[in-house]
């Protein structure tokens, strides 16, 4: 059960990736393909950021000093446990188990980091994905300009019509 909880995030993101991939390979309209590619890229970003998330952590922006942050971390752990109890009331047993496990993990994490530090999520995937987003928009812009020029040359942006024109030369 905890395996399911621990991995469902990745599986849903893989489903998103595959939807984007399917749009890319099954649709003939060039702009639709580029939309599918953009969907695929964004899902890959979500995957990477999920890999960098630490339960009970916070955004990697260092807060004031180290000392004042134990309270924030412990409070966060406490709130997580409370939230788990409330979620349990709403969702039933299995979900209670799940939410409590998450709350306990958060508390454990914050206690483990306890002695002087706040737990920050891993900043390295964030940097990589920041770069990837910008490069993604750059390639999308080039792809769209290619589509515009193809439309001007062939008069259509449907892939099978373009192939037909090419083959009829």
């Amino acid at each position: 059960m905890s395996f399911l909880v621990g991995h469902y995030n990745y599986w849903v993101v893989i489903v998103l990736m595959m939807v984007g991939f399917y749009i890319l390979i099954s649709r003939g309209n060039l702009v639709k393909k580029l939309l599918g590619l953009s969907l695929f890229q964004t899902s890959v970003f979500i995957m990477y950021i999920s890999l960098g998330k630490i339960a009970g952590g916070t955004a990697p922006i260092l807060m004031g000093g180290h000392g004042g942050d134990d309270h924030a971390a412990e409070e966060a752990g406490g709130h997580a446990a409370e939230g788990a109890a409330q979620a349990g009331d709403l969702l039933g047993n299995a979900a209670t188990e799940v939410a409590q496990a998450a709350g306990q993990a958060a508390e454990a994490a914050s206690h483990a980091s306890g002695a002087g530090e706040v737990l920050y999520s891993n900043p390295l995937p964030h940097v990589l994905i920041l770069t990837a987003i910008v490069v993604g928009i750059a390639t999308t812009a080039v792809g769209l300009s290619l589509v515009i020029r193809i439309k001007e040359s062939y008069g259509t942006i449907e892939e099978d019509e373009i192939h037909a024109m090419d083959e009829s030369l």
Binding site: G6, Y8, W11, V12, N29, F45, P60, M63, S121, I137
Partner: protein, 239 residues
């Protein structure tokens, strides 16, 4: 509670993705892609990636939508009904998805603080940002200082993309010098500004470029852009 927010956002993303697949009016699909970007920005925020969320919202929901809409205005916004049976693409997608899911079985649990990825370089960066660099935003310090080379490469990639776009789409919109009866030589950018009763005289040094402005804005008239008039190959029939 995090779990619930996470799950809800992922479900919204999945529904949006499937709708983009099914919708054949491309305008709607582009708007849905903007929604997809925005919801994934919200998801990034719950995953503690605030810089990434900011960038995704600005770039994905902003610039990307504008560029797609600009393209749709030029190429038309309806998609043809799919002509081929989807068996082969579905097969490929299922096999790929299956392989990826098989790969994730070995991944550490979501949010595990003891995963190898969290233990290798991240603590050094977080400490170094505090001590050596003195900047609270660890992502900025990693982006600009620890991984400065990558950022330089990325800036160069963005510039190169601009060069590629200009090479493809550069029908220069130079200002045209026009002789106006009352005002003398004036610079005019668009055809709407030309009144029918304005006399047009070519510039003294101009090579007869004319209102079309067929050169590219870099000023290089060597015509690497062979389609000075966007006219297709004579043998290629227009669809």
């Amino acid at each position: 509670m995090d779990f619930v927010v996470d799950a809800t956002l992922l479900v919204i993303l999945a529904v949006t993705a499937v709708t983009i697949l099914r919708v054949r009016n491309l305008f709607g699909a582009v708007m849905l892609a903007g929604i997809y970007s925005l919801v994934s920005a919200a998801l990034f925020t719950t995953l503690d990636a605030v810089d990434v969320a900011f960038t995704e919202a600005a770039v994905g929901a902003g610039i990307s939508t504008v560029l797609f809409l600009g393209t749709l205005a030029l190429v038309g916004s309806d998609e043809k009904r799919p002509q081929h049976r989807p068996i082969l693409p579905l097969l490929v997608v299922f096999i790929t998805g299956g392989a990826l899911i098989y790969g994730t079985l070995d991944l550490p649990d979501f949010g595990d603080p003891n995963a190898p990825a969290q233990l290798h370089l991240a603590p050094d960066f977080i400490e170094g940002s505090e001590e050596d660099i003195g900047i609270p935003n660890v992502v900025t310090s990693v982006l600009a200082s620890y991984r400065g080379y990558d950022t330089m490469g990325e800036t160069t990639v963005v510039f190169t993309a601009l060069v590629a776009v200009l090479l493809l789409l550069a029908r220069g919109r130079r200002p045209m010098r026009v002789w106006h009866e009352a005002r003398g030589w004036i610079s005019v950018w668009s055809d709407e500004e030309l009144d029918p009763d304005l006399r047009t005289r070519p510039r003294d040094d101009a090579e007869g470029d004319g209102p079309e402005g067929g050169g590219d804005p870099a000023g290089d008239d060597d015509a690497t852009t062979s389609t000075h008039d966007a006219s297709p190959d004579p043998e290629t029939p227009r669809g």
